[in-house]
C-alpha cells in the first residue's frame, strides 16, 4: 500500500530534451550469419571497417572490432545489440561503441553509448546518452549511422 502522496505535478519541470548532432559513421559490414534458436533468431554481422566524420569525432572504424549480435523476435522485429571500436584520426585514441535498438520495415533506430579514455581528448563522449538514425546504403553491405547526443 502506498505510503506516499502524489504531489501536484509541476509541469514546469517537464522540459523537452534536444538532440545535438555528433558525427556520422559510414560502416562497411561483412556477410550476415543467421541461426534459429529455440527462443527466436540470432543474426551476427561483423563490422568490416568504416569512416567516422563529424564535429565531435573524425576517425575510422577498427576493422573487425565487433559487430551486431541481433535477436530476431517471433514477429520479425530485429533487436539490435552491437558493439565495435573506433579510432580517432588525430590522437589514435580507442573509443568503444555500444548499440541497442530496433530494426523493422521503415524503422532503424538506436540508443548508443561510448567509452573513451577519461583523460583523452574525447572524454566528453563518456556517459552521454546518444541516439542514432541508421540508414542502409542501397545495393551495398553498408550502413550510415548518424549519432546525436541527447542534451
Amino acid at each position: 500500500m502506498p505510503d506516499f502522496v502524489l504531489p501536484k505535478i509541476d509541469t514546469k519541470t517537464l522540459g523537452v530534451p534536444a538532440f545535438e548532432y555528433a558525427f556520422q559513421v559510414f560502416a562497411k559490414l561483412d556477410t550476415p550469419h543467421a541461426t534459429k534458436t529455440t527462443r527466436g533468431g540470432r543474426l551476427f554481422q561483423s563490422i568490416a571497417g568504416g569512416e567516422v566524420k563529424g564535429p565531435r569525432l573524425t576517425g575510422t572504424v577498427y576493422p573487425y572490432s565487433g559487430g551486431d549480435f541481433s535477436f530476431i523476435e517471433k514477429d520479425g522485429v530485429q533487436e539490435l545489440n552491437a558493439r565495435y571500436m573506433m579510432r580517432a584520426a588525430d590522437t589514435n585514441e580507442w573509443i568503444y561503441v555500444e548499440h541497442r535498438g530496433y530494426k523493422r520495415p521503415g524503422y532503424y533506430r538506436i540508443q548508443a553509448s561510448f567509452d573513451a579514455d577519461k583523460q583523452g581528448k574525447y572524454t566528453s563522449l563518456n556517459g552521454g546518452i546518444f541516439l542514432a538514425i541508421a540508414e542502409e546504403v542501397p545495393g551495398k553491405n553498408e550502413v550510415t549511422f548518424t549519432y546525436y547526443e541527447v542534451v
Partner: protein, 213 residues
C-alpha cells in the same frame, strides 16, 4: 554547488555530473509538445532525428541502500508511482522493482497500465553535472566517497537533498520495455529516450519519455 560526496551518494556512483533542461525547455509544456527535431546542420545530408512525447512517470522512493562492493551496488526500490500522458496511463507497481545500478543507474520497474497490462521497463540512466556553460563536467577522478559501514543507509539525496537543478545536472535515460502482445507491444519495437527531474520531500523522480520516430 553539488558537493562531490553528495553527488556520488545520490547518483549511486554515476558517471559525471551535469545537466539539463535549458530555460526554454523549462518553460515548456505540460502536455504534448508536438514533434521535437534535431537542429538542422547546414546544407549537409544529415538526417533529422525526431521524437514525440509519449508519457511521464513519477516514481517514488523510500529506501536508498548501497552495497559497498568494489563496484558499489545500489538498491533503491520504487515504492509506487503514477503514469500519465498520451501513450500510456497507469501506475508503478509498489516494490515491483528497483534501481540496482552499479557505476551507472540501471533501474528495473514494473508498470501496470490502466487496462491492466503489466509492462516491464529497464531504465538505463545517466546523471551528469554541468558547468557554468551547461557543458558536462568531465569525470575527474575515481574516488569518491568514503565507504560506509555495512547497513548504514545513505542519508543524503542527490544534490545534498536538493531537487534537480536544471542548470547543474543533466539526467537522461534510455529505457527498454517489455510489454505483452497487444495494445502496448509497440513499446517492444520502438526506441525511446527520456529525461528526468529529481524531487525531494517526498523523494521521487519524474521521468518523461519520448518516442524516437
Amino acid at each position: 554547488m553539488i558537493d562531490r560526496r553528495d553527488f556520488v551518494i545520490g547518483s549511486l556512483g554515476t558517471i559525471a555530473a551535469s545537466s539539463v533542461l535549458g530555460s526554454a525547455a523549462q518553460a515548456a509544456v505540460a502536455g504534448d509538445p508536438g514533434i521535437i527535431s534535431s537542429t538542422k546542420i547546414g546544407a549537409a545530408k544529415i538526417p533529422t532525428l525526431q521524437a514525440r512525447y509519449a508519457f511521464s512517470v513519477a516514481v517514488f522512493f523510500k529506501e536508498r541502500v548501497m552495497i559497498e562492493s568494489q563496484r558499489r551496488r545500489a538498491y533503491v526500490p520504487a515504492i509506487g508511482g503514477e503514469i500519465w500522458g498520451p501513450k500510456l496511463q497507469g501506475r508503478v507497481v509498489p516494490y515491483g522493482g528497483a534501481d540496482y545500478g552499479s557505476g551507472s543507474l540501471v533501474a528495473h520497474y514494473l508498470f501496470e497500465a490502466s487496462d491492466g497490462a503489466m509492462i516491464y521497463i529497464t531504465n538505463y540512466a545517466v546523471i551528469q553535472r554541468l558547468d557554468a556553460n551547461k557543458k558536462p563536467v568531465p569525470w575527474a577522478g575515481d574516488t569518491p566517497t568514503p565507504i560506509r559501514p555495512p547497513g548504514e543507509a545513505p542519508q543524503q539525496f542527490f544534490g545534498g537533498g536538493k531537487e534537480t537543478d536544471g542548470d547543474l545536472q543533466r539526467f537522461r535515460t534510455a529505457p527498454v520495455f517489455d510489454a505483452p502482445v497487444g495494445k502496448h507491444d509497440w513499446l517492444n519495437r520502438t526506441v525511446f529516450v527520456g529525461h528526468a527531474v529529481r524531487h525531494v520531500n517526498p523523494d521521487h523522480s519524474i521521468f518523461t519519455y519520448y518516442e524516437i520516430l
